[in-house]
C-alpha cells in the first residue's frame, strides 16, 4: 500500500463569500481512523461531501482509495460508504427493504443484496425490527440502520459525518462500540465530530478544523501533550475576579493559565499537579479570591481546543458553511 487511503492537498471550496474549506491537507493510512474534529460550521461536512463526490472542490486535490474525487468519481463511489448527519433511510420502507435497496444500487445482485441485508440487520441488532417500517424506529435504531446501509457495499473507505449527533448517551456509547468493531475489519474510516470525547475514543489520528483550516493534528496523545501534563481547573466564586485569580497563580504551572471568562474558570497546565495544589490554594487565599471549585484532571480535547484557539469549541458559530443553502432546517422529523 504505497498510498494513504485518504489524501487531500490544499483542498478548497467556497459558498459565495464563505470559504468553507480553505486549504486542507489530510492523510489517513489504510485501516486507520481519522477524526476530523471541529465546531459547527468549521467545514467538516463540506470536506466529507467533497471526498464522497457530492461536491466538487474549487481547488486542490483529493484522492480516496487511489481514486481522484473528481476525475474518477464514478469508480470511487463503488468503494466508499457514507452515513451523513441525518439518517438517510426511507421511513416508508422496512429496515430490511432499506438495506436491500442499497444493496441493489451497489449492484450486488438479488441474492447477495439480500444476504448482506441480513448480515447488517444481525450485526446492528435490528433483526427483530427488520419487517417494521422505519417510521416506527427510534433515533438510535435509524442511525444503526443508516450505518448498516453505508456498509452494504463492503466499502474500503467509510465516511461517517457526525454519526452520533442528536443521540442520547446510551445510544451513543453503543454506536461507538459498533464503530470500533468496523475498524477491526480493515476499513479506513473518516469520522467527523464535534464531540471531543468521541474523537478521543475512536480516532487514531485527529485533525482539528476551525474556519475551514486544519489548526492542529496528531494522535490524541500528541494533541494532549500540547496542553502539557495535567490541568488544574479553578472556578472562582465571583466571576469578575477570574483574571485576578489567573494572575495570582501565573508562573506555578508548566504553561500560562487560560481564562474561560464565561465560566469563571482558570485552567492551568501543570506537570506535578498534586504538589502544586496546596500552593495554588495558598496564593488564591492570599489574594483574597474565593474558590468555588478546584479540580485536577487529565486534559480532554476540549482543553486542547481551548489551548489552540483561545476559545471553547461549543462557543463557535452555530451555523455556517457546513449547512449550505437551505439545509440548516433539514429535520430528522418523523412525520409532519
Amino acid at each position: 500500500m504505497s498510498e494513504a487511503a485518504i489524501v487531500t492537498e490544499g483542498l478548497r471550496r467556497s459558498f459565495g463569500p464563505i470559504k468553507a474549506v480553505d486549504g486542507v491537507d489530510l492523510a489517513a493510512p489504510a485501516g486507520t481512523v481519522l477524526g476530523v474534529l471541529g465546531p459547527n460550521g468549521a467545514g467538516k461536512t463540506t470536506i466529507v461531501r467533497i471526498l464522497t463526490t457530492l461536491l466538487t472542490p474549487d481547488g486542490g486535490s483529493a484522492r480516496v482509495a487511489g481514486f481522484d474525487v473528481v476525475r474518477d468519481a464514478a469508480a470511487l463511489r463503488e468503494v466508499i460508504g457514507l452515513a451523513g448527519q441525518y439518517a438517510a433511510v426511507d421511513e416508508n420502507l422496512t429496515g430490511r427493504e432499506n438495506l436491500d435497496l442499497v444493496g441493489r444500487l451497489y449492484h450486488l445482485g438479488k441474492a447477495e443484496a439480500r444476504r448482506r441485508a441480513e448480515e447488517m440487520l444481525e450485526r446492528f441488532d435490528l433483526t427483530d425490527a427488520a419487517n417494521r417500517t422505519v417510521k416506527t424506529y427510534s433515533g438510535g435504531m435509524r442511525r444503526r440502520l443508516d450505518l448498516g446501509a453505508s456498509l452494504i457495499g463492503r466499502p474500503k473507505v467509510l465516511f461517517l459525518d457526525e454519526p452520533t449527533s442528536g443521540l442520547d448517551p446510551r445510544s451513543r456509547f453503543s454506536l461507538w462500540d459498533l464503530i470500533r468493531e468496523l475498524v477491526v475489519d480493515g476499513t479506513t474510516l473518516l469520522l467527523t465530530t464535534q464531540y471531543l470525547e468521541e474523537a478521543d475514543r475512536l480516532a487514531d489520528h485527529i485533525a482539528v478544523i476551525d474556519g475551514g483550516r486544519v489548526i492542529a493534528e496528531g494522535t490524541t496523545d500528541e494533541l494532549k501533550s500540547r496542553v502539557g501534563g495535567d490541568l488544574l481547573a479553578v472556578r472562582v466564586a465571583d466571576r469578575a475576579r477570574v483574571t485576578e485569580a489567573a494572575e495570582a497563580i501565573a508562573g506555578l504551572g508548566s504553561g500560562a493559565p487560560q481564562v474561560v471568562a464565561e465560566a469563571g474558570e482558570v485552567s492551568l497546565p501543570v506537570s506535578e499537579g498534586a504538589a502544586i495544589l496546596a500552593e495554588v490554594v495558598r496564593r488564591l487565599d492570599a489574594a483574597g479570591v474565593e474558590i468555588s471549585d478546584l479540580s485536577l484532571h487529565r486534559p480532554t480535547l476540549d482543553d486542547v481546543f481551548l489551548a489552540l484557539t483561545g476559545r471553547v469549541a461549543e462557543a463557535a458559530d452555530d451555523d455556517g458553511p457546513d449547512t449550505p443553502r437551505g439545509r440548516a432546517a433539514r429535520p430528522a422529523r418523523s412525520r409532519a
Partner: protein
C-alpha cells in the same frame, strides 16, 4: 494501488441504468402501499373534478356538435389529472433532497439518471391508477368511449406520456427549489394557466381573441384535442402527432436539464 486506479474502467452495463431506475421506482411505490391515505387523497381530487364539472357546469356549457358535456369533458379532465399528478414529482424529489436521501443515492455507484427516472416512472404508475379510477367514475355518470377500444387505450397511453413529460419539468423545479413547501407551491402555479387556458373544459372559440392565440399554441390544448379525437372520434393522426412532438420536445429539453441539476444537487 494507484496504477490499478488509473486503469480505464470497464463500461458500466446499460442494464444497470434500467435496474437502478426499477429499484428506485419500487421504493417510491412502496410509499403508496404503506401510506394508503396518500393514494386516496390523490384520487379523490380528480374524481371530484369529474363530478363537479359534470353537474355544476355541465348544464350551462353547451358545446356545438357534442351531445353530452361529460363526453367532451373527459379528455380535458384526463389531461388535467396527469398534469396535476406530475406536480408531485417535484415534491417527492424535494422531500428526498431535504431528508438526505439524495445525498445517499448520489454517493452510491448507481446511474445518475436513476433517481429521477424512478420518480417519474412511479408517478406515471400512480397516474395510471388515478386515471383508471376516474374513467370508472366517468363511465358511471354517463361517459362513453365513442371511437373504439384501440383509440381508447391510445388516449390513456397519450395522457400518461404527456404526464411523464410534465413530471420531468416538475423534477427540475423540485430539485431547484429544494424544500417541500416551495416545491408544492412552485409546482402548481405555472400549471394552472396552462390547464385552464386551454381547450380542456370549454371550446376555444368562446374565449377572447387575444387569449385564443395563447390557447391554440398551448400544448395542453393540442393534447386535449388529440385525446378528444381518440375518445369522441374524428381525425386523429394530426393532433396525436402534434401532441407526441410536444412530449418528445419536452423530454429532450428537460431530461438533460433535470439530470444535470441532480448531479450537482445541493451544490
Amino acid at each position: 494501488m494507484s496504477s490499478v486506479a488509473n486503469r480505464a474502467l470497464p463500461r458500466r452495463p446499460l442494464w444497470w441504468t434500467v435496474s437502478d431506475a426499477a429499484a428506485v421506482t419500487k421504493r417510491n411505490l412502496y410509499r403508496y402501499i404503506r401510506v394508503p391515505t396518500l393514494l386516496l387523497f390523490s384520487t379523490i381530487q380528480p374524481v371530484m373534478f369529474v363530478l363537479l364539472f359534470t353537474y355544476v357546469f355541465g348544464g350551462a356549457i353547451q358545446v356545438p356538435g357534442v351531445d353530452s358535456y361529460i363526453d367532451y369533458l373527459m379528455a380535458g379532465i384526463l389531461a388535467q389529472t396527469v398534469i396535476f399528478g406530475s406536480t408531485q414529482t417535484g415534491v417527492g424529489l424535494a422531500e428526498d433532497l431535504s431528508r438526505g436521501m439524495v445525498d445517499r443515492f448520489r454517493s452510491l455507484p448507481m446511474a445518475r439518471s436513476a433517481v429521477l427516472a424512478g420518480r417519474t416512472v412511479s408517478d406515471t404508475v400512480r397516474n395510471l391508477f388515478v386515471v383508471s379510477l376516474m374513467l370508472v367514475v366517468g363511465t358511471l355518470v354517463g361517459f362513453r368511449f365513442h371511437a373504439g377500444v384501440v383509440p381508447a387505450l391510445g388516449a390513456v397511453g397519450l395522457a400518461l406520456a404527456f404526464g411523464l413529460a410534465f413530471s420531468w419539468i416538475s423534477a427540475l423545479i423540485g430539485l431547484s427549489v429544494g424544500d417541500v413547501e416551495s416545491a408544492q407551491a412552485a409546482g402548481f402555479v405555472w400549471v394552472f394557466p396552462l390547464v385552464f387556458a386551454s381547450s380542456a373544459f370549454v371550446p376555444v372559440e368562446s374565449m377572447p381573441g387575444w387569449l385564443q392565440v395563447f390557447v391554440k399554441a398551448n400544448p395542453v390544448t393540442i393534447t386535449v384535442n388529440a385525446l378528444r379525437a381518440l375518445t369522441l372520434g374524428g381525425p386523429t393522426a394530426r393532433p396525436v402527432l402534434q401532441s407526441l412532438a410536444w412530449i418528445v420536445g419536452i423530454l429532450l429539453v428537460f431530461v438533460p436539464l433535470a439530470v444535470n441539476r441532480y448531479r450537482r444537487a445541493a451544490g
